[in-house]
Each structure stands twice: as structure tokens, then as C-alpha cells.
């Protein structure tokens, strides 16, 4: 795990989902919420009420950046910054480590995941 992200980890699950939703390119807010909902099979539903405070925080931390959408100036799109990508990677490897440990303790059957 890169040392410079240690103090921001672990990420809150919602923040991580947003990072994951932006992995494949830029999206506007509603698309991010839909992507999270699809990826989690409907288990996690972000309303705009909780999504935008997360987006604002990630913007000010420099993990995502805002791009003006050409066809609709009122609709703002967001993309991952390199820094955001590294944070997501750090969190993913932290989670992978934990999963490995869980498996060693037989908390997870060998075939699962």
C-alpha cells in the first residue's frame, strides 16, 4: 500500500463505490448513482442528497475533477484524477489484503471470490 494514502484509508464504502463508478470514464451525478446501484445489485442506493456532499469532498481533496458537459451546461460531469485513481487502488489492495487474511482463517471458502 502506498504510504502517502495511509491516513485517508480506509475509505467509507460510499466513497469507494463512487471511485469505482468513475473507473471507466466520466459521468454526471445521476449516472454515478445508477452505476453504483447496478454494480451492487441495488443494495446501495445513493440519493442526490448524499451523493453531492461526497462529490464536493472528493473534488476538494483532488480525487475527482469537474468537466463541463458540452450539450448541457447545467449538468456537470466528473472524472477520476490520477490521484483519485491511486487512492482507489490503495483501498482495493487494502481490501484484498483483508480478504486474503480472512481466507487464511477459513472465514471464506477457498472457491468463493
Amino acid at each position: 500500500m502506498p504510504a502517502d494514502f495511509r491516513d485517508v484509508l480506509p475509505l467509507s464504502p460510499r466513497v469507494f463505490y463512487v471511485l469505482l463508478a468513475l473507473a471507466d470514464g466520466e459521468h454526471h451525478g445521476y449516472a454515478i448513482a445508477k452505476a453504483v446501484e447496478t454494480q451492487t445489485g441495488g443494495a446501495v442506493r445513493l440519493t442526490p442528497g448524499t451523493l453531492y456532499p461526497i462529490i464536493r469532498q472528493m473534488l476538494s481533496d483532488g480525487w475527482i475533477a469537474e468537466i463541463d458537459h458540452d450539450d448541457d451546461p447545467r449538468r456537470r460531469c466528473y472524472r477520476l484524477t490520477p490521484r483519485g485513481r491511486r487512492v482507489a487502488q490503495a483501498e482495493a489492495s487494502r481490501l484484498a489484503d483483508m480478504v486474503r487474511m480472512a481466507r487464511n482463517c477459513n472465514f471464506l471458502p477457498a472457491g468463493a471470490i
Partner: protein, 865 residues
């Protein structure tokens, strides 16, 4: 639906809301159109918005408080000054409020308290308010009134309990049967009085206090039904009052700690219509207001006036809520005045702090401009600045509360005797809630204008100009307004306290027509009826007492049924020969020994005073005072006129007496008027109680000798407490003293804050103009000219403050006019001295920084920065 969303978004901090509200609404709209989501989603969204919004605000606040604390550590001196200022203003306010709360707002110990009126009939010719009622007055009011559910009369008394070890003297309250019903109190054992008890010829039912029940009867529930001996008469206990129940004592403004309640005898000589010696209370029926009850009582009085003109013609109702009767020496109006003064102190505090905060404007312009440049919104900066004020207000409030409660403890200790329930002041929920509200108010009132001015005046260009002296500081005009406001308020407050002090001085130095120093007086001594049952035995006892006291203190020793300020005066109706007995003639009656007039310093105006020869067997005589003579039809020389006046507990019809002398008037207190008074020789009119007046220097030894003289009469009876006349008069003026003390403390705080405010503002402006003064002096300006320049600027503000202050002071004086004694609400002496005091101290406060300006070294000033 969008309106709902927009409203919910108010939960978010402003800058976030502005940036994201449209997107949130758009997303919701998009989801609704593409998926057709319904009400459940909307509800979830609203809940999300509100909870995340509030938690974002909480985070902001926590961050601001952290920043504020860090910043305060950097400006320690300023922070300490502001905290002390907050402490004084908030402490004064909460302190006065808790007195107000304990005395006026807290519930009385009677379930029915808020529906109970205290009333009395008072003589239109007398200014003293709450005289009393007679038993027939009480009974008639009960029967004729439709708005009062119950009416009760009561008076204080004392009896000796025997049969339980040493004889004990008990406080007894003689009441009419409805007494407990009026107050709504329930017995904890047995029952209270019924109308049946009252109808019996010799009512012997008594109710005992919880204290007596526990101390003498060990809390035994079988006490109900037992018989006990009081003054040798057998009484039956029918009930026990609940713990903590005390009789109201409206005539004392306090409570009477009764051990026993007895029924007022219906057929005693004191139950006659003219004998107005009872306090009275009545409970208002459901469906009636205090106003409609008053109107109803007036109707009853009109009826009685038609039926018994001689007893009611010149008598009017004095009616007040029972609550107002139990606030002790200090009147509700005086408490509200003190609260208004505390509010004034609070405003001065806010103005002072606002001024102090503005002096930071230059020091902080650089920091604030930098934050603006980094993208913080001005609103966000203002809220950060307001948080700093809030942190200071919370700290100041905590210090202020500690000071307030320490001061209250001292105050309660000093005044507990004069003000009931002062001892019950404690930090309870209402006080805490009030304190929190006051801290919040202080933050907003003191902090918001400076926060706004600083945040919105800090320009981006200030990065260049920051710290440069000579640039016009933000909020300069506002600072001037604050100085003027502080001075005006302080002037009004100090003037009010000056008026209160003059009133207090007037009350304590009023000419009552008697000697007010060098006299020792006793409380009332009830002559033990068992040992001295007959008039002759009582008379012999009085002679023995007179000789014993003369042996102790020399010839200036007097005995009397009462004396001015003794609270024992009795009113009697009388007949004057040659005048129709129309009931108009009512006079105060005093049975006195011959030395009474000389001892009290009452001078003889006509005829003679009593002599040793005015014995029981000699011709019946009387002496009257000037007020009585004015009552006579001819208003002429009263000598030789014959009068007939009843004497309490004297058998047989009253005798005709000849007036042999006229003496000077005396008064019961500074606010009382001289009552028409008839003096009778003690030998010819033995009363069942006595007081002694001894002209002697006050000392513990003398007091105990006087008590010893009483104790030698009957070892079983307690001697009456001895006091100096000055103490008695002090008690009369204690309300005025308390309110003067309260107002003076508040005015002193106001004055200090205002002066400190001027000092801070002038110091600041001098520091701002450091360079300017350097240049002025470099080009030849003298030090005097610099001082004049600085003082000239502040003098305009002082003049404006004084002008507005004088108007405010006149209004304040008019508002407290009812509490003033022999002082006009606009008193030139007070106004002049307060103005001089205020202007002088303001000029001194401005002079100190001005002198500093005059000492500026031009070379240093030019090198500055």
C-alpha cells in the same frame, strides 16, 4: 414537490447549497422521468438531505470552533478582555433573572396559588396600602361574592403548649375555616377545618404543622383526635398540614411559620365589624378572571356600603395577586426595574464587544483577504468570525455564571430575612436554558455586525495595503455609534441608581416625628394570661416591669401597647361628644405610660401629658395628636372635648374620657401619614400585651438586662426580642436598600464597561493614526495640539452620548417613579452629578491614549512598518 426539495436543501451550509442544489433537483427530476420513482424515493431523498446537511453544518461548526480557539491563543489579551466583558454582562443578566425567577416566577408552595387574591379594605384617608379586614367583612364577602369560590381571614397569634415537657411557645395562625381550601392545600393526615367546625360555639379544632407533628408527636399518625392544652385550654387535633407548608403573611410580604392553626372565634370582641385586624385571601372561581373577580368584589362593597354606611363609606378595596404580596421588602416593580437595568448592561456589553472586535479589523485584513483569495466565500468567513465571538461568549458566560452565583449567595445571605424564597435560588433547568439563550443572544448581538463588516470590507486589494496605518479602517463610523450608545445607556443606568440611592437616603432620614437613635425597643410581649388573669394583676405586672426597667436604664423608660414602627397599632372607632356618631371617627389607639412621650421624643403641643396621678381610680383622660385634632369638626383646640373609645379586652362599655393634652404627630414609616391617634394612660387602659421603649445606648449587656426584666415576670414565658429603633427603621427601608444596591452594582458595571469601551476605541484610533501624528509633530505640531486633536474627536461622541443619555435617563426615571421617595424622576442634582461623573471619566479614558499620541517620536513613527 420541488419547493419541498428546495426547502429541505436549507439544511445544507449555504455555499454547498448554492453550488449543488440545482444538480440535486435535476438528478431527482431525471430519475423520476426515467424510472418513474415515487413518493418513497422522495421521502428518502428528503431525509438524506436533512441528515447530511445538518452533519455538514456540525462539521463546519466543529472546525470553526477549533480555528477560533487556535486564533484566540494568538490574541490572548484581547480574548481575556472580551471574556471578562461577556462575563460581566451575562453574569449580571442571569443573576438578576434568577432572583426574578425565584421570587416572582417560581411556583408558590400552594397548589391554588395563581388563582388566589390577597385583599384588604383600606381607608381612603390613609396612604398605607394593605390594612386589614374584619371577620364580618370576610363572611359577607364569602356570602355575597359570585366570583370568589372561598374567602378566608387569618391573623398571627401565639400560644403556649403545655403537657409535653417544658412549656413551649408556639406560633399560632388564627384562621377562618376556608383558609386551607383557598390555598388548595391538602392535609397529610386527618382533615382540615369545615364550616361545621366554625359553627360551634367554642371551636376547639386545630391543625398542626408537619414540624410540630414530627418534633412533639414523633410523626405518629394516631395524633389525629388527640387533645392538647394551649394556654391552658383544651384543643383537639383534627389534621396535619403537609411538610413545608407555611402560612402566607401578606402584611409582612413574607411567610409565617405557624406551628398550629386554630379557628378564629366568631363571638370574640375582635369579630366586630369595625375591628379590621385580619389578613384576607380569596380563591377565584373557575370561569372568572382576576379582573371580573375585582369587579364582583366592588359590587359587594357597594352593597355593604348601602347597608352599613358608617363602616364602609371611606373604605376601598386594595386587591393584588397573592404572589405579589409575598415578595418581601422588594416590590415586583423594583425587581423588573433591576431586570431592565441588567438588560441595559447587556446592551452596553454588546456594544463594547462589537467595538473591541472591530479594532481587530486592520490586524485581520491581511488574513481575511488571503482567505478570500483562496476561495472562501465572504459568508463563510463571516460565520467563522461569528463562531469566534460565540466561543468567547460561551467562555464569558461560564465565568459570568460562576460570578453571578457567588454574588447571589452573598446577596441571599444579606437579604434572606427581608425577601422570602431568596434562599431557594438554585441553578435549575429554566435558569440554564435562560443562560444558554442569553449566551446565544450575546453572540449574535455583539458579534454579527463586526463579523459582517470585517468579512465584507476585507478587499482582495488589501493584500497590498494590509497593515498600513492611515488607511481608513473598516467600521469606523459604526464604532462611533457604539461609543455614543454605550455612553447614553450608562448615563441612564447610573442616573436610575442615583435616584434609587437618593430615595434610600430619604427613607432612612425621613422625619417620623420620633427620636430615631439611642432607643431600644422590644417586640410585643403577650402578658401570660394564666398567671395574670385579671386586669388588676396585669396592671401590677406592668408596674413591676416599669420599676425593673427604670432600675436598669433610668427615668427615660416607657411602656406602651405599641409604638411607631412596632406593627402593633390598633384602630378603634370612637364617639366624640357633640358630634353625631356617623362612624367616620376611627383612630389609632395606644395605651402608654407617662414617660412614653418624653422617651420617644414626641413633644407636647397643648395641655399636659399623663402623670402618675392618672390611675385607674382617677378621672378617665386621653391625649390626642395633631392629626386627631384636625379630625374634630371645629378643628380647634381639642382640650376638654370628651370622647368614648373601646379598649381591647376591657370589660364593660367604654367610658367617656376628657382630652387633657395634644402632642405632636408621629408616623409609622417614611411612606405612612400621621394617623389620628388617641393615647390613654396605661393604668386606665391595660392591654393584654405590652412593648417597652428604653432610652439607652445599644449594647449586648443592655439588651440582655432588658430581656432579664421581662424574664423575671414569668420564667415560663419567653422574653420579647430587643432591637434598636435604628434596626427597626432599617427593616422598613430594606426594600429600598436592596433595590438601590442592585441598581448600583449594575450601574457600576455599566459605567466600567462604557469607560473601557471609550478607552479601547480611542487607543485603537491613536494606534491607527500613529504615523499621521508622527508627521504632524515632525512638521511642528505641538504635543498639546495632538492631544487636543484626539480629544476633539471623542468629545463630539461624548456630547452626543450625554444628550441621548439624558433623554433616556428621564424616561428611565419616569419608569421607576413609583419606587422613588421624595425624589423627582428628573432630578437636577442627580442628573448633573451623573453627567459630570460620566464626562470626566470618559475624558480620562480618552486622555490616556491621547497622551501616548503626544509622546510619539516623529522619527520612530516615520520608520514604522
Amino acid at each position: 414537490m420541488h419547493g419541498l426539495l428546495y426547502a429541505a436543501c436549507l439544511a445544507y451550509p449555504g455555499d454547498f447549497r448554492k453550488n449543488y442544489r440545482t444538480q440535486i433537483v435535476n438528478d431527482f427530476e431525471l430519475r423520476r422521468r426515467t424510472e418513474g420513482t415515487g413518493a418513497a424515493f422522495l421521502l428518502r431523498l428528503l431525509a438524506d438531505i436533512i441528515t447530511t446537511g445538518l452533519s455538514m453544518r456540525a462539521e463546519n461548526l466543529a472546525r470553526d470552533v477549533g480555528n477560533a480557539l487556535r486564533r484566540l491563543r494568538k490574541t490572548k489579551l484581547m480574548a481575556v478582555v472580551i471574556v471578562i466583558t461577556f462575563a460581566l454582562g451575562i453574569g449580571a443578566n442571569v443573576g438578576v433573572f434568577s432572583v426574578l425567577d425565584a421570587i416572582l416566577l417560581a411556583p408558590l408552595p400552594y397548589p391554588n396559588a395563581d388563582r388566589v387574591l390577597n385583599f384588604a379594605l383600606s381607608d381612603v384617608h390613609s396612604t398605607s396600602g394593605f390594612l386589614a379586614m374584619s371577620l364580618p367583612d370576610v363572611i359577607d364577602l364569602q356570602q355575597r361574592s359570585v366570583a370568589l369560590r372561598n374567602v378566608a381571614g387569618f391573623m398571627e397569634d401565639g400560644k403556649t403548649l403545655t403537657g409535653f415537657g417544658k412549656p413551649r411557645s408556639l406560633n399560632v395562625s388564627d384562621v377562618t375555616y376556608a383558609f386551607f381550601d383557598v390555598l388548595g392545600t391538602r392535609s397529610q393526615a386527618g382533615r382540615f377545618f369545615s364550616s361545621g367546625d366554625a359553627r360551634s360555639q367554642n371551636p376547639d379544632a386545630i391543625v398542626i404543622s408537619d414540624r410540630l407533628w414530627r418534633s412533639t408527636f414523633a410523626g405518629n399518625p394516631n395524633v389525629v383526635g388527640r387533645r392538647v392544652l394551649l394556654d391552658g385550654t383544651s384543643y383537639q387535633i383534627i389534621g396535619v398540614a403537609p411538610p413545608g407548608f407555611e402560612s402566607p403573611a401578606p402584611e409582612l410580604g413574607s411567610f409565617f411559620n405557624a406551628d398550629v392553626w386554630t379557628l378564629f372565634p366568631q363571638n370574640s370582641p375582635l369579630s366586630r365589624r369595625g375591628a379590621r385586624d385580619l389578613s384576607a385571601i380569596g380563591s377565584i372561581k373557575a370561569g372568572f378572571t382576576p379582573q371580573s373577580a375585582r369587579a364582583d368584589m366592588q359590587r359587594v362593597l357597594d352593597q355593604l356600603r348601602r347597608r352599613y354606611p358608617r363602616y364602609y363609606r371611606d373604605w376601598v378595596w386594595s386587591i393584588r395577586p397573592l404572589r405579589d404580596a409575598l415578595v418581601g421588602a422588594i416590590s415586583p416593580a423594583a425587581l423588573w426595574a433591576a431586570y431592565a437595568a441588567a438588560a441595559g448592561v447587556f446592551l452596553i456589553m454588546c456594544a463594547n464587544i462589537a467595538g473591541l472586535l472591530l479594532t481587530q479589523s486592520n490586524a485581520r485584513t491581511h488574513e481575511l483577504s488571503l482567505r478570500l483569495a483562496l476561495g472562501a466565500s465572504r459568508k463563510r468567513i463571516a460565520s467563522q468570525l461569528l463562531t469566534e465571538s460565540g466561543v468567547l461568549a460561551v467562555l464569558g458566560g461560564a465565568v459570568g455564571l460562576a460570578i453571578a452565583f457567588a454574588a447571589l449567595r452573598v446577596f441571599a445571605g444579606l437579604a434572606a430575612a427581608q425577601i422570602p424564597r431568596l434562599g431557594s435560588i438554585r441553578i435549575d433547568l429554566p435558569i440554564v436554558a435562560y443562560a444558554i439563550a442569553i449566551v446565544g443572544l450575546a453572540t449574535v448581538v455583539a458579534g454579527s455586525a463586526p463579523a459582517w463588516i470585517l468579512a465584507f470590507s476585507a478587499p482582495l486589494r488589501a493584500i497590498k495595503a494590509a497593515g498600513r496605518s492611515g488607511s481608513r479602517a473598516a467600521g469606523k463610523g459604526f464604532q462611533s455609534v457604539l461609543v455614543v450608545a454605550e455612553l447614553a445607556l450608562a448615563l441612564a443606568l447610573v442616573t436610575s441608581s442615583g435616584l434609587a440611592i437618593r430615595s434610600f437616603y430619604g427613607l432612612t432620614h425621613a422625619d417620623l416625628g420620633i427620636r430615631t437613635s439611642g432607643l431600644l425597643v422590644t417586640d410585643i410581649y403577650a402578658i401570660p394570661a394564666r398567671r395574670f388573669p385579671t386586669i388588676d394583676a396585669k396592671r401590677a405586672l406592668l408596674h413591676r416591669l416599669d420599676s425593673a426597667l427604670t432600675a436598669i436604664a433610668g427615668p427615660r423608660v416607657a411602656l406602651g401597647s405599641n409604638y411607631p414602627t412596632s406593627n402593633a397599632s390598633i384602630q378603634m372607632s370612637l364617639r366624640i361628644s357633640g358630634q353625631p356618631s356617623n362612624g367616620n371617627a376611627i383612630a389609632a389607639l395606644a395605651s402608654v405610660s407617662p414617660a412614653y412621650f418624653d422617651t420617644l421624643g414626641i413633644s407636647l403641643e397643648r395641655g399636659r401629658i399623663f402623670a402618675a396621678g392618672d390611675t385607674s381610680s382617677a378621672a378617665p383622660v386621653a391625649i390626642v395628636n395633631g392629626a386627631f385634632s384636625r379630625l374634630l369638626r371645629a378643628r380647634s383646640n381639642p382640650l376638654g372635648t370628651r370622647i368614648q373609645i373601646a379598649v381591647p379586652n376591657q370589660p364593660g362599655p367604654p367610658v367617656w374620657r376628657t382630652i387633657v393634652g395634644q402632642v405632636s404627630d408621629d408616623r409609622d414609616g417614611p411612606t405612612a401619614v400621621a394617623q389620628p391617634t388617641v393615647y390613654l394612660p396605661l393604668d386606665q387602659a391595660v392591654t393584654p400585651w405590652i412593648t417597652a421603649i428604653v432610652a439607652a445606648p445599644d449594647s449586648a449587656a443592655m439588651r440582655s438586662k432588658i430581656e432579664g426584666a421581662f424574664a423575671s415576670l414569668d420564667p415560663a414565658a419567653e422574653p420579647p426580642p430587643v432591637e434598636s429603633i435604628a434596626q427597626r427603621l432599617g427593616e422598613e427601608a430594606s426594600g429600598a436598600r436592596l433595590s438601590a444596591a442592585l441598581l448600583t452594582v449594575l450601574a457600576a458595571i455599566a459605567l466600567c464597561l462604557a469607560i473601557a469601551g471609550i478607552f479601547a476605541v480611542v487607543s485603537y484610533s491613536v494606534s491607527q493614526r500613529f504615523q499621521e501624528f508622527g508627521i504632524r509633530m515632525a512638521v511642528g505640531s505641538s504635543a498639546v495640539a495632538v492631544v487636543r486633536n484626539v480629544l476633539g474627536g471623542i468629545a463630539v461622541l461624548i456630547a452626543a452620548g450625554v444628550a441621548i443619555g439624558l433623554v433616556l435617563a428621564a424616561a428611565a426615571g419616569r419608569a421607576i417613579v413609583d419606587q422613588l421617595y421624595q425624589v423627582k424622576p428628573v432630578d437636577p442634582l442627580v442628573l448633573l452629578s451623573v453627567t459630570v461623573l460620566l464626562v470626566a471619566s470618559a475624558l480620562v479614558a480618552a486622555l490616556l491614549p491621547a497622551l501616548r499620541a503626544a509622546r510619539i517620536d516623529p522619527a520612530a513613527a516615520l520608520r514604522y512598518e
